[in-house]
Amino acid sequence: MNAASIAGDVGLWALVALVMLGAVPLVAASYQFALIGVHRFRNHYDDVAPYFPRVAILVPAWNEAAVIAASIDRLIGLDYPPDRLRVYVVDDASTDATPDVVQAKMLEYPGQVVHLRREKGGEGKAHTLNHGLGIILSDDWMQAILIMDADVIYEPDSLRLMTRHLADPAVGAVTAYIKEGSQPGNYLQRFIAYEYVTAQAAARRSQNVLGALACLAGGAQLHSRANIEAIGGRIDTSSLAEDTFTTFNTQLAGNRVVFEGNATVWAEEPDAVVGLWKQRLRWARGNVQVTLRFRELWFRPHEKHRLGSISFAVFWFCLFLLPIFMIIASAALVILFFVDFPLSWETFHRLWIVNALSYIFITTFALRIDPHTAKKAWREALLFPGLISVTIIVYTCTPHLFVWCMHHSFNLLHIPWTPPVLHTIILFAYMWLALCMLVAYLGKKFDKVGRGLLSPFFVYLGGYGPLLCAVTFTSYIYEMRGAEMVWDKTEKTGKVGLPQ
């Protein structure tokens, strides 16, 4: 064997390795899901106790006249001792009737509702929160603070289920399970509902097991007073991911962060791809900023916190770099197609069989985690990776049956089943891991076009998961360009409600 042949073999196997890189995120996701079972043994329930601190509920509000009255009513009606509950609404220079509505509620609930007004608004949620925090911390009434969004709905027992964790002084903050609660909700909101099962109910339980939480949900974060003081009494204003910064800073201060999956909070999420894109681009850019700001942390285990653990870093980067993994895997497959077709075909099978097994495990388990969401969003769960990816998965699982069906379908359509046609289909399948993001992106491009049917068509075809990957990829570009940080508030209509 000569040097050129060895170099050729090494090159081929390097390409195979790059293709298999595409399976790493799903394998990591399966590992993350597998940890949920461990949550049965490794959770915080051994250390909870009945605990009813005086809770200040901090509600940032900008032009929330449509929803703020009902929100205040529901907060006051929480199943929690009323003398231990105060609602502080920080009105971020609203130009609608928000101040009038809040002041009317102050009269209705004397001593329980406080209206705080910022004359200069529009600087972002973190600035609004800091205005309220400064005032709340100035006296010693508050023992715990609940930071939330104006439109979310807490189930009556949720606050109590969260405060019980603060009975353990080691816990600095607790977050709840945010569920998509738009009524009736459209296809996109059903996708989001399923996404939240995987990203919150599932992922955060496994993060509980690891002892490191990636993010306290912006709409449901309960902090002890000691924790808020430990992180400087204010929220970071230098990024677009103030909630993730707060979560990291809490853990770096040596305080534990707990996800309480049994406390449910309902939120209204975007009903159109353009709205979702804006929201997620802000989150994704925030994640880029977090990744860079805490670069000294990754893959470096530390005795004070678990943010540096290998598993946590693997989960974080598999999600953060997912679009890169997909593009690399796809490009390597296409190169292999031209260099060594049989090897490319075998590698393609191996990649997709791993993806298929992960998909089956994650999807079936996620649907079991939250049966209520499963009932309304099972179709979106099945089509989360996109119709074409699911087709490739079906092919991988039952290749002979699939080819037989394809062959007969082609005959019916009078399309010749010839090698060039087959090779074109195979090449398309190889490129799909990268192309799916582009197709899903068309869902944003054609939002509100063609009587609103084109956008769902592209999202179902390309996949909701790939749509989020496209957002992540765009966030890299925005951050590399140093694009201006704009706080695009997600528009809310008040269509969220507790399930009947």
Binding site: H39, Y51, G261
Partner: protein, 56 residues
């Protein structure tokens, strides 16, 4: 109880009893999830066997 309310009853309810009930519910839910995970894992294993026997 750390900084909790001094009176263990509120609104006519025994808070300790309520806490115990809610804790039991939460723990049961975690057990349910662990069982669900095991079934899903077994389903994947069964799927692999079926695929190898009839569809590969």
């Amino acid at each position: 109880m750390r900084n909790g309310i001094s009176n263990p009853t509120w609104d006519g309810r025994d808070l300790l009893e309520q806490h115990d009930r809610e804790l039991a519910t939460s723990v049961r839910e975690e057990h349910r999830l662990a069982r669900a995970e095991m079934y899903c894992f077994l389903a994947v294993v069964a799927f692999i066997i079926v695929r190898q026997m009839w569809f590969a």
